[in-house]
């Protein structure tokens, strides 16, 4: 996915490969500007006017999303894959009730749905996100707290029972306690419904809390993907290691923490070779010339580094 910007062409997501499996929570982490939100938008073919998907395929159960017609795509969105955008809970229409949002959303993707069905489904979903359906559905958005709105948005995303749910920074504007409870709710929903989720965040601690597998993005590519425990206890890519050491927490020794040197790469003029090489303590000659491929380490782990074998 690339964008035309005044300085040239910005490749926000560059030749990226990623699989999402059935019944898994994939945590997608990276710093701002690494392309994680753009990747989520690309999956549903949501393209800004100055952007275009220059190549590649996005296969969902054997069908390429990028070659669907507009009508096919409209029916596909929400029914198969739904997305909760960053800050979506502030995007409710302030003059209509929560239930009307549920109706509108359903009709936009499935005009044949009956009102009774939608009522039934909405109530079910409200209970699933631990909201009282009779109290919440008749409310206007401003009558709900931030945490309630966020849960209502998650319920809305599940109206058409999508197989894959994409959540972009769903917790970032919530206070710590609401965050914790909402995370537990998502874990429960996942256990009950066996949905797959892509959970996008910049916060490593949130990923540690709910992801089964983690993909780490840097400069528009995946640099490492592995099971959650591998990422935190046995990180392979130098960027993953450096990032883990740069995040202070309320536990652990601060003596092991170390700031990461240097700035993030300029997306319009990315460094040649490995995107991380200008900041990497382990760089050698080849790193500035050849871009490393994402290599299979074992059944689930992938890493894109020329030196991952020797650094392990």
């Amino acid at each position: 996915m690339e964008f035309r910007v005044p300085r040239g062409i910005l490749k926000a997501v560059d030749n990226l490969d990623l699989d999402v499996y059935n019944d898994e929570v994939l945590g997608l982490v990276g710093e701002s500007g690494c392309g994680k939100s753009v990747l989520a938008h690309t999956i549903l073919r949501i393209v800004d006017p100055n952007g275009r998907i220059a190549g590649g395929k996005i296969m969902f159960q054997g069908k390429d999303i990028l070659s669907m017609s507009k009508e096919e795509l409209r029916r596909f969105r929400w029914k198969e894959i739904a997305i909760v955008f960053q800050g979506a809970f502030n995007s409710f229409n302030p003059v209509i009730r929560i239930f009307e949002h549920m109706l509108d959303t359903t009709y936009a993707h499935d005009e044949k749905a009956s009102k009774e069905e939608i009522v039934k489904r909405s109530k079910e979903l409200m209970r699933m996100v631990r909201l009282d359906p009779d109290a919440v559905l008749v409310r206007y958005p401003h009558e709900l707290s931030g945490g309630m709105k966020q849960r209502a948005v998650a319920a809305m995303a599940m109206l058409l029972d999508p197989k894959l749910l994409i959540l972009d920074e769903p917790f970032s504007a919530l206070d710590v306690l609401t965050q914790k409870f909402f995370m537990k709710t998502l874990v429960d929903i996942r256990r009950e419904t066996r949905k797959s989720m892509i959970f996008i965040t910049h916060d490593l601690a949130q990923v540690a809390e709910i992801a089964d597998r983690v993909a780490v993005m840097y400069g528009g590519v995946i640099v490492e993907a592995a099971g959650v425990e591998d990422i935190f206890y046995k990180p392979r890519h130098p960027y993953t290691r450096a990032l883990l050491k740069a995040v202070p927490s309320i536990v652990g020794s601060i003596d092991e923490l170390k700031p990461l040197p240097g700035p993030l790469p300029d997306p319009v003029n990315p460094p040649p070779g490995c995107e991380f090489h200008p900041r990497c303590p382990h760089r050698i000659d080849i790193c500035s010339r050849v871009r490393p491929k994402l290599e299979q380490v074992d059944d689930v782990s992938l890493v894109a580094c020329h030196r991952w074998r020797e650094l392990n």
């Binding site: 710093e31 701002s32 500007g33 707290s145 945490g147 206070d175 710590v176 306690l177 609401t178 965050q179 914790k180 409870f181 995370m183 537990k184 910049h202 916060d203 490593l204 601690a205 949130q206 990923v207 540690a208 809390e209 959650v228 425990e229 935190f232 450096a242 990032l243 883990l244 740069a246 995040v247 202070p248 927490s249 309320i250 536990v251 652990g252 601060i254 923490l257 170390k258 700031p259 990461l260 040197p261 700035p263 993030l264």
Partner: protein, 334 residues
């Protein structure tokens, strides 16, 4: 130390009036009878969730807002009784770093055009040429080299990390004794945040400033305080509920609010974070500031609340080196 602390906040309260056009006017108490001290070359990390009043308290200490009651003493003198000249001298000694570095500088001026006038106006340097030399030194100090390159740039041509360094350089350029850092590193990317904190502490050694480090992130507050020197103060709905030296508040929380927070915060360790039980709370919702609960403000959510908690405001009491505002603090010590 027996010497007077640099900054002393005594029983300060600040209310704002909300509504008026469509709804009845209501007083919102953003800061409620807060007392706090910051010593020379010492730090306080003020931690709390959004809306708890931490930024308002920061502005009060700078004289940007006037308290409704209580006093702010700077070097032993009430800042609101200072004469005009003394007050501007105080303002020079007390600086602020805002959250967003881009909106802190005029976008149509170069860095030099923004940073030089205060130096000349305050007679730090005699003329523009000397200001240029001084700013070159400062920019080198914050790691922006070669400095000439950056002085002639416009803000839009710099990265967030570079801008934050410029803002840090500006904050110490008049050699203040006190700097309020209001979410100063929150906008930065994770990989740049520690570097910015390290730089702040380096500047502290060189310029001998005290920081009020305001943040919602306990992890970064802990790093700041353990690497520097000072205490962490926890704020909830306008009041300080607990404060202690170093990271004692995090390691051994006493106040029920602090205790709940410590189990609720996710940590970057999958096994550990998943094994921590959900905190038991009577209510999840944070009360609105317009209707702050009576007595202890945490009582409607507190799992240990009893009758007295609804009726009486708990005082901030000392336990060893800790301050705690809870009627039953004795129960939770150890």
């Amino acid at each position: 130390m027996s010497e007077e602390p640099l900054l002393k906040i005594i029983n300060v309260t600040k209310e704002f009036v909300k509504g008026g056009l469509f709804s009845s006017k209501k007083a919102v108490r953003a800061v409620d009878s807060v007392s706090l001290e910051i010593g020379m070359v010492e730090n306080v990390a003020l931690v709390g969730e959004s809306g708890c009043g931490k930024s308002t308290l920061g502005k009060l200490t700078l004289g940007l807002l006037k308290p409704d009651s209580g006093q702010i003493l700077f070097e032993g003198r009430d800042i609101w009784t200072l004469k005009k000249e003394e007050f501007s001298n105080f303002r020079r000694n007390a600086q602020i770093i805002h959250q967003d570095p881009y909106t802190s500088l005029n976008p149509v001026r170069t860095i030099f055009q923004s940073l030089a006038p205060p130096l000349i106006r305050n007679k730090e340097v005699p003329d523009s040429k000397a200001a240029y030399e001084r700013l070159k030194e400062l920019l080198t100090m914050v790691g922006l080299t070669p400095p000439e390159d950056f002085l002639n740039r416009y803000p839009a041509r710099m990265s967030g990390g570079q801008m934050q360094r410029i803002i840090l350089a500006r904050a110490v350029s008049l050699r203040p004794k006190y700097v309020v850092a209001d979410e100063a590193v929150s906008m930065l990317d994770a990989s740049l945040r520690l570097g910015a904190v390290d730089l702040m502490l380096e500047l502290q050694k060189k310029f001998r400033v005290s920081y009020l480090f305001i943040t919602h992130d306990l992890g970064i507050a802990r790093y700041f305080i353990l690497k520097g020197r000072g205490k962490i103060a926890m704020m909830y709905l306008g009041s300080i509920v607990e404060a202690g030296e170093g990271d004692s508040v995090i390691q051994r929380p006493i106040h029920p609010y602090t205790r709940v927070m410590m189990t609720a915060i996710s940590v970057p360790d999958p096994k550990l974070t998943r094994s921590r039980p959900l905190p038991s709370l009577r209510s999840l919702d944070v009360p609105r500031l317009e209707q702050v609960p009576s007595g202890c403000k945490f009582h409607p959510r507190c799992p240990y609340a009893e009758k007295i908690c609804e009726e009486k405001v708990p005082e901030l009491r000392a336990f060893d080196s800790r301050l705690v505002a809870c009627h039953f603090a004795e129960r939770f010590v150890n």
